[in-house]
């Protein structure tokens, strides 16, 4: 392998390590968030106060079923062909959102007080 190849191999490895470090940094430094926001096609559909949840319940958005529990949310059912949003598991902080690209549904946690969903809090 020529010198240019070696330099690039080192650069790629560094990029991968930096990305891995970024993932670890984000997941260890995430803080608990109060509200779960559910977006469909870029519009906020529900905003749920997670500290008020006593019994777990589900919210249906289109064909995606979102399981809301105290302090965490997860996607429990969806009709997308890959089912990746279900496999993304539960989120408890703001490090990553749950994304279902085929149905354009995003669930993320935040502390932002705006537009709190009055109905879904029941």
């Amino acid at each position: 392998m020529k010198k240019s190849g070696k330099i690039m191999a080192v650069c790629f490895s560094l990029a991968a390590i930096a990305a891995a470090a970024g993932i670890i940094y984000l997941s260890t430094n995430e803080s608990e968030k109060k509200y779960a926001c559910i977006y469909e096609d870029g519009n906020l559909i529900h905003k749920i106060n997670l500290s008020d949840v006593e019994k777990p319940y589900t919210v249906t958005v289109g064909s995606n079923v979102i399981l809301v529990e105290k302090g965490q949310v997860s996607m429990s059912d969806a009709d997308c062909p890959d089912g990746l949003c279900i496999k993304q598991g539960a989120i408890t902080g703001d490090a990553r959102p749950i994304v279902c690209l085929p149905n354009n549904v995003v669930v993320k946690l935040t502390n932002d007080e705006k537009d709190i969903d009055a109905i879904a809090g029941n």
Binding site: K2, A15, I23, C80, P81, K87, V106
Partner: protein, 170 residues
């Protein structure tokens, strides 16, 4: 071999169907990581081979054929947007880098191709969901693009060396 219009027509068709076949084969592999966009990118092997063997212009035709046919045959409505963003960004990155890197470094071009493919898809995802936090998944995609890029790049490099010996054309 004489390089006529028909020669390219046949070569582009064969390459497009090969790439479509690999794309279909790849979709049978169950996802390893629960992140949309993590995949081997076997179809990119063909794109790379085309860039080196039949030239950039014809390689673009192969890529566009593959993108539109795969969206029509197996795609969901959104997949065409993602394929176009990822595919074209990756293609132009590879076509430019080909001028600066020697043939021995096809694997590196492939890594850049995979990287820009994922970058394009993340941009498409941010636009479609209008949610910037989706960009978190780009970190995962960087790691996967290095691994899969090296793999597909080695495959393409091997094929390019063999095909050059056959003296196909360009």
């Amino acid at each position: 071999m004489k390089r006529t219009k028909h020669f390219y027509l046949v070569l582009i068709s064969v390459m497009a169907s090969l790439s479509l076949g690999l794309y279909a084969l790849e979709s049978l592999i169950p996802p390893i990581v629960a992140v949309p966009g993590v995949k081997l990118g076997l179809a990119n092997v063909i794109t790379l081979i085309c860039i080196y063997i039949i030239g950039t212009k014809h390689a673009l035709a192969v890529l566009l054929l593959r993108i539109f046919l795969s969206a029509m045959l197996f795609g969901q409505p959104v997949s065409l947007t993602f394929s176009l963003f990822g595919g074209l960004l990756s293609f132009f990155a590879m076509a430019v880098l080909k001028r600066f890197l020697c043939e021995e470094n096809i694997w590196a071009i492939s890594v850049f191709g995979a990287f820009f493919h994922n970058l394009g898809q993340i941009i498409a995802a941010v636009i479609i969901t209008s949610e910037l936090s989706v960009a978190y998944y780009f970190l995962v995609l960087i790691i996967s693009s290095v691994i899969t890029g090296v793999f597909t790049g080695i495959c393409a490099g091997y094929a390019v060396r063999k095909l050059k010996k056959l003296n196909l054309g360009v």
